[in-house]
Amino acid sequence: MNGRKSSGKAEWLTTMPSLAWLALFFAVPSVIVLAFTFHGHTANGGVGEWSLSTWRELVDPDYPTIVWKTVRISFEVTFWSIILALPCAYAIARMPKRWRSVVAGAIMLPFWTSFVVRVFAWKTLLHPDGWLQACYLTWLKVCDWSFGWLPGFLQRFLVWTGFATAGHVDPSLATILDSETAVVLVSVYTFLPFAIMPIYTAAEKFDFSLLEAARDLGATNFYSFRKIFLPGVRQGVVSAVLMVFIPVIGSYVIPQMLGGTECILIGNKIFMRAMQNRNIPHASALATLMAVTVLVPMGAAMWWKRRQEARDRRKLDVRTNRLMTSGGAS
């Protein structure tokens, strides 16, 4: 029954409900968004005549900065999530079976409280009166004092990652709340389980005796982790990257609640334009820009994967043919 090619009444009947629904509420709206970008806007929040003015306004020097910031933060969050998720997934997959489901459940349990409430808890925690703020200030002082001897590029890295202030900023003014650090921290907190789960699923299927075999052949722990385990769970890592990267690109609640004025991303701009300034064409144009930001790497990844598969298949064909022809003679 599977993979039948012929279409008939039964196929139409089973396909139509979801197809029509998604066409009406997903495909059509996407087209409308695209169409709106080629309109001007009117003063009272409506959509004006056909024009290219909206696209022209996007050249505003603010926007490239915001796009770049969004992409950079997305990469940062993805990087930290994967770095944290890999050993976690590995540890869970190596546990006795009974424990695995318990710990995996424990990882997902925080999601049974509302996302907004969790962000609120962070907001309270990070507030200048909160005790985390005190810890952070102490940490910054210790860092600035103890990292002074490190080479310049390392110091720059620490500043970039928010671990140090390089002495340029008075530590007492540095605050986590309303900063990029807060956005990255809470984004990692929010999306970490989505990074752990796909890697864990892949790791669970991974044959751990391969690691023992590698050890047996003389590989170090880290080497076998890098050369055997990582390629083994590659598929899981790829989906983990997508699971984190895509929502962070489009996130606006976390920057809005925790980023203050310092951390405004494309998501916030879209929301502002659509809901506060009532400039619908402008919001549409920004949304299109974001869609392109997401779809281009996705499309490239898919194209690459398909090409790789096709190449593998061709290689296999050639080899099989060679085997067949050489085997046919004997």
């Binding site: 029954m1 979801s18 976690c88 999601f111 049974w112 507030h127 751990f208």
Partner: protein
């Protein structure tokens, strides 16, 4: 089995990281001073622990009226969206599994693309649709939007289940004299049920938790629980009530999960006894 101490330590640290805010949610529900979110009163004296927010929730206190209203609205929408997306998702998954036509390629693309789109894009495009059609935003626009973004997740969950499904079982049912409807309701649906339930659970959590899409399509005055909370500021008077309510929800889901585990265990034991 050899275990790496490094990765186990990392896991412990990550679990602590994940649970600190949850712990805070529980603790904040007992805060007496709602304005300063503190256990100390204005003059700096320890004001103790209070259960007043819980009693306000249970007695239906008027001061929490808007909060509770948004909470019930969230539950209603999540329930309806779950049922609708399960129905749509099941038919869609069956069609995608059974046929490989051009229509299904289009169908698959339509189901799959919302998954790789950031929520905000779905939110704004739905807003544009409602603007273009001149629809007033409110309950129905929220419901429609929630069904739309839930369907894809439900389809993927059920499709994963269908992958393990042995198509011969359907053939066996036909072979023994069953028609397509009988086969669907008596053979396929029971086998797919765990997948549908899992998809439904996912849809329910996604819907009840959604703030991004809802904040685009809710219109003025209609608030779900998440949009209501996000509109509160840190100095809202009743903030601890939000935390108390969240604690209750967490407790409820934990009990539910525990119960389902116990029921499942009891069932296997019963089977063994037989």
């Amino acid at each position: 089995m050899k275990r790496s101490y490094f990765s186990t330590a990392m896991l412990a640290a990550v679990l602590a990281f994940l649970y600190v805010p949850i712990l805070l949610v529980v603790v904040y529900g007992f805060i007496p001073n709602g304005i300063a979110m503190s256990f100390y009163d204005a003059s700096g004296n320890f004001a103790g622990v209070t259960g007043k927010w819980y009693s306000m929730i249970f007695t239906g206190d008027n001061r929490l009226g808007a909060l509770m209203e948004s909470f019930w609205l969230s539950l209603t929408i999540a329930g309806l969206a779950t049922v609708a997306s399960c129905v749509l998702g099941t038919t869609a998954a069956l069609a995608l599994h059974k046929w490989r036509s051009r229509l299904q390629s289009l169908h698959h693309a339509l189901v799959y693309t919302p998954l790789i789109m950031p929520d905000i894009l779905i939110g704004i495009s739905l807003l544009m649709l409602f603007v273009a059609c001149g629809v007033d935003c409110g309950f129905w626009t929220i419901l429609v939007s929630h069904i739309t973004f839930c369907v894809s997740y439900v389809v993927m969950t059920i499709l994963a289940r269908l992958q393990d499904f042995d198509d011969r079982i359907v053939e066996a049912a036909y072979d023994l004299g069953a028609g397509p409807w009988y086969t669907f309701f008596h053979v396929q649906l029971p086998i797919l049920m765990p997948g549908i339930v899992a998809g439904g659970l996912l849809a329910f959590t996604l819907s009840i938790d959604d703030v991004v899409i809802t904040s685009f399509v809710n219109g003025a005055g209609t608030n779900t629980f998440p949009t209501y909370v996000s509109s509160m500021t840190k100095h809202s008077r009743n903030l601890p009530a939000v935390f108390a309510l969240s604690t209750l929800m967490l407790l409820f889901t934990c009990v539910l999960a525990g119960l389902s585990k116990i029921v499942a265990r009891g069932q296997t034991q019963k089977e063994r006894l037989r």
